[in-house]
Amino acid sequence: MTDLSVKIGSLVLKNPVMVASGTFGYAEEFKDFFDLNQIGGIITKTVTLEPRPGNAPPRIAETASGMLNSIGLPNVGVEHFIIEKMPFLQPLSTKIIVNVAGKTGEDFVEAVVRLEDVDRIDAYELNYSCPNVKEGGLTFSANAAIAEQVTRNVRKVTNRPLIAKLTPNVTSISEIGKAVENGGADAVSAINTLVGMAVDLGKKRPKLSTITGGLSGPAIKPVALAKVFELVQNLSIPVIAIGGIMNATDALEFLLTGAVAIQVGTANFINPRAPLDILEGVRDYFDKNRIDGISSFIGSIKT
């Protein structure tokens, strides 16, 4: 059996299959479906310093081979997260990566500081794609200087691995990627959702209360592959792939393109056992093709 373990900075995953923030709750919702300890890692739903109620309904819409969401990062806030959600996660033997977001750069730092005392957090994923107020209306990951500065500030308060999650809604994702690399990120993950919109012709209004939302699912896989490829070509730190991964073939395509690990997102809603199915499919592929180490496969695409 092929050794599937991969390294993301100092973080070692037993296999490259993780689940994406906001699509796996705080893992408890999935415990009935498969043994959570099988997969490489769990990224939590985004946590913010203060509790957030989330957006008004409707928050979701089905689209061609995908969906739109404007959930709005509802969460109980970092304090309650630690008390209410971590106890379920702590006994797990898979890696726990807490996804953090903030309205301001200081919010990120403060949330991470608060989480530093907490046991069994293996890394942080910084969600740079949420609406930002203070820094001039741009999202954090649409402005390289801000993304770099925030990363640097968070880097100062933690030794845990830092993954910067990037938005695809920019002219150059690798410019932002390089900025967070300079800021001290150990890895980047990409992509977050694409800005999209759906219209209800009958009601003559947008399908989402927020008018636009984030597009995910198989529809965006080609965009994700292109962004991952661009990042792999331009950065020195590892790239974690997200976007439309529904099955083992999809996962393998991203690994071939150079991602060291992948996150399963929207697929979790369609097939709550998708992460395990994908892991098993990846393992089968390596076994059948007698691939010795996963590292020789990662990035071996012929271009």
């Binding site: 699509t23 919702e29 109620p53 928050r59 689209t63 969401n69 979790n268």
Partner: protein
């Protein structure tokens, strides 16, 4: 207690159009049939490899724990249900369930009053099954646009309920909205305590019932039908707004996990 939710394949055993564009499907899946209670639902993958991306949620209409069969009732309204209505016996349907919470029956009730509009009737056969052994009055107010859309009356009677039908076109029963018939009924009662409304149907109907229940101070439980992506609390896509949050902000529950059954005075209805 309801059973754990599972990802499973159910076998289609029977499919019938029981009223105009209303279909009843028998599905063989013992875990669902044996552990589900009224209000819960299953989330069905219509067909892999089609452009129908999400699963589709359907209330569990009734169960037969012995045979391992449960029923769903559906209206062929859109892309998914149009495919579903053509499925052949023996086909396997991938589904997740049982999902959601259940109606709960306060003790010492005198009467439960079911109020259903159209396909809102779906969850209540199982409710009557759940309550079969309970000695209390069971009344069903069932509103449809026309006689052609009526179904389930016989079964409901057999399960000990008294059915009152309203049709919008007057082709049967009360001529008008079911909520008007309901209001008449409730107003004539000497005392509305020890009674509870269990409601499911289109939003305008729910609003009206909410109003009546508030005025008459009757407790009402409602099963909501939000659009859902996952059905089990993972996507947070199905919020239901709390009517009385503990602070000034907006607070939401999740229809699929905290519901689909809510106390009517607890939530704000939207469309």
């Amino acid at each position: 207690m309801s059973g754990n939710k599972i990802l499973t394949e159910a076998t289609v055993k029977h499919l019938e159009e029981i009223a105009e564009n209303i279909f009843r499907m028998h599905l063989y899946e013992p875990h669902i049939a044996q552990t589900s209670h009224a209000g819960q639902f299953v989330n069905i993958q219509i067909a892999q490899g089609t452009t129908i991306f999400w699963r589709r949620p359907f209330s569990i209409h009734s169960t037969n724990p012995e045979s391992g069969i449960f029923e769903i009732l559906f209206n062929a309204v859109g892309r998914g249900t149009q495919v579903l209505k053509k499925i052949k016996n023996g086909a396997k349907l991938n589904l997740v369930g049982p999902l959601g919470n259940t109606f709960n029956h306060a003790p010492h009730l005198e009467e439960i009053i079911i109020v259903a509009g159209g396909l809102g009737i779906a969850p209540f056969k199982l409710l009557l099954q759940d309550l079969r052994k309970q000695q209390l009055k069971k009344t069903v107010f069932f509103g449809v646009s026309s006689t052609a859309n009526l179904c389930c009356l016989d079964e409901f009677s057999r399960l000990g309920a008294k059915c009152r039908v309203s049709t919008e076109d007057g082709s049967k029963g009360y001529h008008g909205f079911v909520t008007d018939d309901l209001q008449n009924y409730l107003q004539e009662l000497p005392d509305s305590s020890h009674r509870e409304l269990l409601v499911c149907g289109p939003t305008p109907m729910l609003r009206k019932v909410q109003e009546i229940a508030q005025t008459l101070q009757i407790n009402a439980q409602v099963s909501v039908e939000n659009i859902m992506a996952c059905g089990f609390g993972a996507c947070m896509g199905c919020p239901v707004q709390l009517a009385h949050p503990h602070d000034d902000g907006k607070r939401y529950l999740l229809a699929c996990k905290d519901g689909p059954v809510f106390n009517m005075d607890e939530i704000l209805l939207d469309d």
